[in-house]
Amino acid sequence: MKQIVKLTEITKIYESKVMKRALNRLSFNAEEGEFIAIMGPSGSGKTTLLNMISTVDMPTYGEILIDGIEPAKLSKNELALFRRRHLGFVFQEINLLNMLTVEENIVLPLTLDGMSVEEMEKRVAELICKLELKELLNKLPDELSGGQAQRTAIGRALIHRPKLILADEPTGNLDSKSAKDVLELLTEVNENEKTTIVMVTHDPIAASYCDRVLFIKDGEFFNEIYKDERRQTFYQRILNVLSLLGGHHDVSTVRLS
């Protein structure tokens, strides 16, 4: 299997008035078509790790390879182009642009790349059925529910057919029903399009949809578990690791269906 993300002994030190070591000699690989969750307590370095993979932050030491490319060797401009063509992003705050309609939000990455209008319309038509947004194309984000908005954001992340999708707490602001829809959508994309997904999450239920869960603590590798036959037992094992991990976790809300 081809490795799409390869991090070797990453260390990240933030230097301001107080020096902080956010990541410490962390290695992490993701193979093509994998759906991976990264878990850990607050301040464990999950988001820093995701930022490194997103190429918006650089490690202090260590090597990063994404789809065979070394971000450190690219210029800022090339990195921006790389992100817009090969990576898809889903955020906790959703971050849709409020003045654009659903459809415009979805095609945004394509317009930046100067694609023809026909091609963009074709791709939107392909996507919207899967996203269940057909009736909402001309609505503004303010008029959408949380789940609809996040589905739009996923549409924006998928429209340019990226190899890698990076999701930062995609279900963090959603109710349980919407969260389930979003997770099922991500699973479907992962299975059908063979898109690699790396998702940072707090929620063990969200993590239980993945192929593999990576646990980090204080910027270091803590544990790693793979999914098994049943999601129910996988969920239990995730909870077990989390209880070992300590830290602040809201594991109380069991809403497994």
Binding site: S54, F82, L97
Partner: protein
């Protein structure tokens, strides 16, 4: 930390935000103080020009004050809205509404007192310099620096009361609904603006009508248009910004080929939000800029009127006397005496003007002797003309009538004296002030002129003695013949001027008054325009500042999605350029058309073109605006990037 310290630190640590607001306040306080320094100057007493200067400064102060009121209210509101999140936190932590009001009151007063202190201080430092400029313009002997409590009292009193008023009213601007709304703050924005199609079209229609009327106006209509056009154009402008532009943008969005192209999707939709949020501000800025352009342009054109004054008044002094005037010799002697006293070189030519009637046109015609005219022409440095017996020339009353008269040939007979004439062409040089000899003047050969005099012998005739003083240093004659001038002016005021047996004109004196008046007005106008200019720029800056947090977040997301640095810059450019130059452009267009109709008045009044002055004024403003744009874009980019780069 006491409550007062808290307020103080709030302001001092937010100084970057307050800087533009503070600067604009300081500047208006300073200008206001300078005006009042002049207003109360002990050396200025009751002569006409000084009175005029004081009046001008007084009016300027009033305008400045009213404008500052609006400016402060608007800026204050923008500020408080931008800080709603902070206020939300304070209320959340249990601050009473009363305490919050006090906090805002103290902060505002701190800025107010600071800018008043700094403004008057700077004003006092620059007042000597200011006096020097004014003295140059008004040509007063000296304006020494003086220390008096009055200008300080006026400035401090006016602005302190203003700031106190605003500090009390300001808390009203904070929407104190639910604390949670304040903390979220930004979510209040809506992106659904109702657009009226009817008003959109009406806006264009009104503007087109006003422009058309302004272009097609004629001399008779122009006064009536002055009442009709401004409200028409103002309403049109309002609808233009609130409805026409959004309507146009909506149409633009319908074409995906145009809209979905590269970063246009972003720049157009961002720009649209800006345009809609700021429609009212754009309207105000447009109207204020138009007024500023108009006043400065008008004043500049008046200065050009003064510079063309010499061309219209080639003579140093003019004394015209009827034959019945007993004081004629006494006055001429007095004038010559005074000229000698002042040490001014001069030459005097006496011309006789006889009024006859032409058989051709049946109207009155003034006749001159060609020898007299040649003598005067010689003094002014023009070559003499030759006229055969029986020939005559028109003397054009103004410069511009030469062309027309030169092509005419008229055969006529002077009715009273029975002299036959062939008038062929016009006299090419400009020797007399316009219309000072008469409306209808011809120059006769001296033999014919003698003949007229002989034929009129014993009859009652109307004739004038025209004394033309040629003074090379004509601008220095303002002290000459003041007593005669005053008598003429008095009789003119008391009774009808027809009773006076003589007339006196001193172009040097009139010129100095006209020039002073206009330059002074221009100077006042430029200072006011400077204040307007700074203030409109700060309006835009505040508006940007209130949405800065949101903009930051937006660009952060976009960066992550892969927006390049160059694209970011281009989007910000496309967002800022309309803010600066769109109202500006509309104001330029407005004033251009307004000047088109003003030109009609100028043509009728003084035959001058104001295109040159106007272009200079407009180019100057545009350059300043460009500089301002770059300054503010630089600050904005720093703010936006500040956080984005840390992502």
């Amino acid at each position: 930390m006491t409550f007062r310290q808290f307020a103080y630190r709030n302001v001092v640590r937010n100084r970057r935000i307050y800087a533009a607001f503070f600067m604009a306040s300081v500047f208006s306080v300073m200008v206001f103080f300078l005006y009042s320094m002049l207003l109360f100057h002990p050396a200025i007493e009751d002569r006409f020009v000084q009175e005029f200067a004081v009046l001008g400064m007084g009016i300027a102060e009033l305008i400045l004050y009213v404008f500052t009121v609006f400016f402060l209210f608007y800026s204050m509101r923008a500020f408080l809205q931008a800080r709603s999140k902070e206020f939300g936190v304070l209320l959340h932590l249990g601050m009473e509404k009363r305490q919050l009001n006090r906090l805002i009151f103290m902060e505002t007063m701190l800025i107010g007192v600071g800018s008043i202190g700094m403004g008057t201080g700077l004003g006092f430092v620059f007042s000597k310099f200011f006096f020097m400029i004014v003295r140059e313009i008004v040509m007063l002997p000296t304006l020494p620096l003086y220390l008096s409590w009055q200008p300080f009292a006026l400035t401090i009193g006016a602005f302190l009361s203003l700031f106190i008023l605003i500090s009390f009213i300001a808390p009203v601007f904070i929407k104190t609904g639910k604390v949670i709304d304040l903390i979220r703050g930004e979510n209040e924005e809506t992106y659904e603006y109702p657009v009226s199609r009817v008003r959109g079209y009406l806006g264009v229609l009104l503007l087109v009508i006003s422009y058309a009327l302004a272009t097609l106006t004629s001399n008779e209509l122009v006064i009536r248009l002055f009442i009709l056009l401004p409200p028409l154009a103002t309403l049109g402008t309002y609808y233009f910004f609130t409805d026409t532009v959004p309507l146009f943008m909506q149409k633009l969005k319908l074409s995906r080929k145009v809209y979905w192209k590269n970063y246009r999707l972003l720049s157009i939709s961002f720009g649209m939000i800006r345009l809609r949020e700021n429609a009212r501000m754009f309207f105000i800025v447009t109207i204020v800029s138009t007024i500023a352009f108009m006043s400065v342009g008008t004043l500049a054109s008046l200065t050009s009127f003064a510079s063309q004054y010499r061309e219209m008044n080639p003579l140093g002094l003019v004394y015209i006397s009827t034959l019945q005037n007993e004081q004629e010799d006494k006055h001429i002697a007095q004038l010559e005496e005074e000229l000698k006293e002042e040490g001014l070189a001069y030459s005097l030519t006496k011309l006789q003007i006889i009024t006859q009637h032409s058989s051709f046109s049946e109207s009155a015609v003034s006749i001159l002797n060609h020898k007299d005219v040649n003598q005067l022409a010689g003094e002014l440095g023009y070559p003499p003309i030759h006229l055969e017996k029986g020939e005559a020339l028109f003397l054009p009353p103004t410069n511009s009538s030469y062309q027309n008269l030169n092509e005419r040939i008229v055969i006529t007979k002077l009715k009273e004296s029975d002299v036959d004439l062939k008038i062929d062409g016009a006299y090419p040089y400009h020797l007399f002030p316009s219309y000072s000899v008469g409306r209808n003047v011809i120059i006769l050969n001296s033999l014919d002129y003698r003949q007229v005099q002989l034929n009129l012998m014993g009859k009652e005739t109307s004739a004038l003695n025209y004394y033309a003083f040629h003074v090379p240093q004509w601008q220095k004659t303002k002290e000459i013949g003041l007593s005669i001038h005053d008598t003429v002016a008095e009789t003119f005021l008391i009774e009808s001027s027809g009773n006076l047996e003589y007339a006196f004109d001193n172009p040097g004196l009139s010129y100095s008054i006209i020039r002073m008046t206009f330059s002074l007005l221009l100077f006042i106008g430029l200072l006011l325009a400077g204040v307007f200019f700074l203030a409109t720029g700060s309006f835009i800056y505040f508006q940007l500042y209130t949405t800065l947090e949101q903009d930051r977040k937006r660009f952060e997301t976009l960066r992550r999605l892969g927006l390049t640095e160059l694209e970011l810059k281009k989007i910000i450019n496309r967002q800022l350029i309309p803010q600066f130059f769109f109202p500006w452009g509309v104001a330029l267009l407005h004033s251009s058309f307004a000047f088109l109709s003003l030109q009609v008045i100028w043509d009728a009044l003084a035959e001058i073109s104001i295109v040159k002055e106007l272009s200079i004024v407009l180019i100057g403003f545009t350059i300043l605006q460009l500089m301002y744009f770059h300054l503010i874009r630089w600050r904005y980019l720093v703010h936006i990037r500040g956080t984005v780069q840390k992502v």
